[in-house]
Assembly symmetry: C2
Homo-oligomer: 258 residues x 2
């Protein structure tokens, strides 16, 4: 089963929504138009209606407009010009600061252990994805910036984020100047399992099937010798972003706290 | 600025999408109808089009149908009957197993440090929220089950999840029998900050403003003396789910690894 948009039984399906979700491709080339404050607020308000653990809403979104800061952030994120040039750039944060404050005001003390960190990370990401859907529904393009974690301590210092405000990733949005083609994804039955997690040979077969579908994608980008399997193997050999544990600890997070 | 659906400048807005997102409320009371396999596959395929870090797609969704397992899971999740009764129940997992396998086949070794854990958690959550949007667009109701982490080691054992498959939360979906009212959220300007993170007094003012809007919500549920601030203070006093660090370590995660 592949990501075929022409699935057989979609008579009653809300076509437009599936089409919107399936049209997603990260945009990295934006026009110079700023993103309107009212449009952004409307999309944020819709995004906030995402589920949140026990209604905690443990997230915040810090918009950055200042051109000098944007230029510096583009550099800190690994030289990504869209961070400087997109009509909107914001930092999505897991946010336990408000919760720590309110608990403290009541005489309690928040323990920012792994559960609290996960709760905030998941809340922030549910919100962010709802925001992306809303923005794309408005015709804007979006791009998450995981590279924000490359030199996250410097990002944190530049933006003067206080304790327990935990930068997770960046988000660019704006009017697309050019759009990348959508990428094929793993087959549905490579991520949706029924009753039992598959064995290693089945995982390898899914990867091979996907490699075959990704070949034209790499070829079209002038990389005929690349494969998804090869990309994964390269990416996951060795420790990625090894500074993160110390960074989040410096922000008040104690992942190992029981 | 509150979550007012009647924002002034929505002339060109895709009304239906904003309405769908704003209509979200967790559903915990479902009809007995199963969720159709084709409908689920179509929604999963759309959900997979969510952004994913470097196209890694580090997630999986394990559907559980077996009634005995569903009953046991409902118990393990803190006595939540919808886990047993919803037309669909699945466990959303951050999944580094496939990546570790492909890296290993190429002679490398994946280090499941905090960056890898975050990557998988964020990828899985982006996918899950896209799935929720797609399912709700099809007229189904949904409910995330964070309580899956209550006794996650027993869930893990019951479902025989292998190493580096990391259960994060559950997801129920199905035809709603009854729907809860939507809840007000924090004001937009309590989560969207422009250029600078606010000071503690501003955070307290946001909480008070929200407490006032939440009063009718609690009153309607027969809890006139509750407040959001009080809920937060109670929830965040003391360490929540203190077993998680040891659990994920037992699955091969080494958060502190550099």
């Amino acid at each position: 089963m592949t990501n075929d948009p022409e699935a057989p039984d979609r008579r009653d399906a809300p076509e437009a929504l599936h089409e919107l979700l399936r049209a997603h491709a990260s945009v990295r080339d934006f026009t110079d138009d700023a993103v309107d404050d009212g449009l952004l607020a409307r999309c944020v308000a819709s995004a906030q209606c995402a589920a949140t653990s026990s209604n905690v809403q443990a997230y915040s979104l810090l918009r950055v407009r200042d051109p000098e800061r944007r230029a510096r952030l583009a550099e800190l994120c690994g030289g990504q010009p869209q961070v400087e040039r997109a009509g909107f750039f914001g930092v999505v944060c897991g946010d336990l600061r408000r919760d720590a404050l309110l608990a403290g005001d009541a005489g309690g003390e928040l323990v920012a252990n792994l559960e609290a960190f996960l709760l905030a990370t998941i809340d922030a990401t549910l919100f962010a994805q709802n925001l992306v859907v809303a923005l794309e529904g408005e015709g804007l393009g979006t791009c998450y910036i995981g590279g924000l974690r490359n030199r996250v301590d410097e990002v944190d210092e530049l933006l003067e984020l206080p304790r327990l405000v935990l930068p997770l990733f960046g988000l660019c949005a704006g009017r697309p100047r050019t759009r990348n083609a959508t990428k094929p994804r793993l087959a549905v039955d490579a991520v949706l399992f029924d009753g039992r997690y598959p064995d290693d040979d089945a995982l390898r077969a899914h990867a091979r099937e996907y490699d075959a579908r990704m070949e034209p994608h790499f070829a079209a980008r002038g990389k005929p010798h690349w494969s998804w399997t090869g990309q994964i193997a390269r990416k996951f050999t060795g420790a990625m972003r090894p500074h993160l544990f110390a960074f989040y600890r410096s922000k008040g997070v104690e992942l190992e706290s029981a």
